[in-house]
């Protein structure tokens, strides 16, 4: 039988992480855990897109510094963002003397990067690699929705793009291991509402988790946390409800980065955070450090991405989504 879970024989370790965020994220529940923030969301640049690139640059510089590596020691950079042609990453990382692979998995890019990086390491192709992803509220609004100062109302299911970049260094050194990964399938359940991305992405997460638990020797209870990327309130509720109807109960250990990064009510972000910076900064600042010190032992991380474009939506298309899974384990006894 075809196996969907990729079990890595040579397992990479997360050597270091680094997170850079904007002011709203800094004011959120995880504020104190982020490595760096800028009160000015333009990060000293003259456009939002350049600001996003700057965040990526700072995130990778920070992660490299923490790991003790220099850029020439990194074999491959795996990076992505939400902007057309991934310019956030292309411009932000051009100063590093390292092989570069640009990725687009929308908000699943962080897990996609960790997945590909782990496979490259697992196959012995690279020894050290870096994963960097970002999103910026302002550059995303411009590209996918309306001008920033446009006066409109959001629906309760709408999410708020996280301003932030997260970087991860994978190598043989570290206290957190990536042992298994699973590539997501593109799932399209016909949702067309750009203001309800959680509902568009939840079926992809359900698909991946169902396949994982069908094949895995572990039940959902084995994991301290099952972390989804940015399903927000609406998507998380759908995920838990529909999985339960299939006999998979993740109500006790499910958390969503979109619900962790902001105080949903207090910060008026409606259904929660989103963007490929969302899961990146939450993983880099909270989940991985908790694995590093042994508070968490086993974690499943599912980055969820909505793969539409403004053009496909204008043409009446629905929102396809994907969810890639990465299993993280603490090596601390």
């Amino acid at each position: 039988m075809k196996k969907d879970i990729i079990k890595l024989k040579r397992t990479p370790k997360i050597t270091s992480t680094y997170s850079v965020v904007g002011h709203l994220e800094k004011e959120g529940p995880l504020g104190e855990f982020f490595d760096e923030y800028s009160h000015d969301d333009k990060f000293g640049k003259d456009s939002w897109e350049k600001a996003e690139s700057e965040m990526q640059k700072r995130a990778l510089s920070g992660a490299l510094k923490k790991s003790g590596f220099i850029d020439t020691e990194i074999d491959t950079l795996l990076a992505g963002d939400l902007l057309n042609q991934c310019v956030g990453s292309n411009y932000g990382l051009s100063s590093f003397d390292t092989g570069y692979l640009g990725l687009y998995g929308a908000c699943s890019t962080c897990s996609e990067g960790l997945l590909i990086g782990s496979c490259l390491y697992g196959g012995g192709i690279v020894n050290n690699c870096a994963v960097v992803t970002s999103s910026h509220y302002c550059s995303s609004e411009r590209q996918f929705r309306f001008p920033l100062e446009y006066g409109g109302q959001r629906t309760p299911t709408a999410q708020w793009t996280t301003t932030g970049a997260g970087a991860f260094i994978l190598s043989e050194n570290g206290r957190v291991e990536i042992s298994e990964v699973m590539i997501g399938k593109v799932i399209d359940k016909g949702i067309k509402d750009i203001s309800n991305m959680g509902a568009a992405m939840a079926p992809a997460a359900i698909n991946t988790l169902k396949r994982f638990f069908l094949e895995s020797e572990h039940s959902p209870d084995f994991f301290d946390l099952i972390v989804t990327g940015d399903l927000g309130y609406e998507g998380s509720e759908i995920l838990k409800e529909l999985l339960l109807s299939e006999g998979i109960d993740i109500r006790k250990n499910h958390v969503d980065c979109g619900l962790m990064v902001f105080d949903r009510e207090g910060q008026d972000v409606h259904a929660g955070g989103s963007g490929c910076g969302c899961s990146a900064v939450v993983m880099a600042s909270d989940i991985v450090p908790n694995l590093e010190c042994g508070i968490l032992k086993n974690v499943l991380f599912l980055g969820t991405g909505a793969l539409m474009s403004p053009m496909s939506l204008s043409q009446g298309g629905s929102i396809p989504a994907v969810a890639h899974l990465v299993r993280l384990s603490s090596l601390v006894k």
């Binding site: 001008p147 100062e149 446009y150 006066g151 629906t155 949702i191 079926p203």
Partner: protein, 147 residues
């Protein structure tokens, strides 16, 4: 669950926007803006302007105020509460144009502001003009028939 069932399930469980509250605020803010316009109209006629000139100047004043508030970054905060109250009067049109102008400035004055300023307001301009033409033709034919 097939696509249709899932879409129905999602729509059913999604929390709806508070329509009654939104309508009330739209009524209050929209009414407020119109009252403000009426106030300007009285002011301009009091200052000696003809009624037609005063009406034009009222529109210009409201457009200016909405653009100024957009530039100051205040308009979207008001519109978040007011909704259609700020969107429907000429203030919404003004905001749609000026917010796009601010946003596209980083791409330059030709390819940015010049090319994209009417991205949101464009349909209103195009179909507004088009409807005007149709109305004009009907009006012309009607006057030919009924004098």
């Amino acid at each position: 669950m097939n696509e249709k069932e899932y879409t129905e399930y999602v729509e059913k469980r999604a929390k709806k926007s508070p329509i009654l509250k939104n309508c009330l605020f739209a009524f209050l803010f929209g009414g407020g803006i119109c009252t403000l316009g009426q106030g300007f109209f009285h002011l301009y006629t009091y200052l000696g302007l003809e009624e037609t000139d005063a009406r034009t100047l009222v529109s210009i004043t409201l457009i200016f105020i909405a653009s100024l508030l957009t530039g100051l970054g205040v308009f979207d905060n008001i519109a978040k509460i007011a909704g259609a109250g700020t969107l429907v009067p000429i203030t919404g049109f003004s905001n749609a144009v000026s917010s796009q102008a601010i946003d596209t400035k980083s791409e330059g004055y030709v390819l940015g502001v010049g090319a994209k300023i009417f991205t949101i307001a464009g349909p209103v301009i195009l179909y507004g003009t088009f409807t005007g033409v149709i109305y004009g033709v009907i009006y012309y034919i009607a006057t030919l028939i009924w004098g």
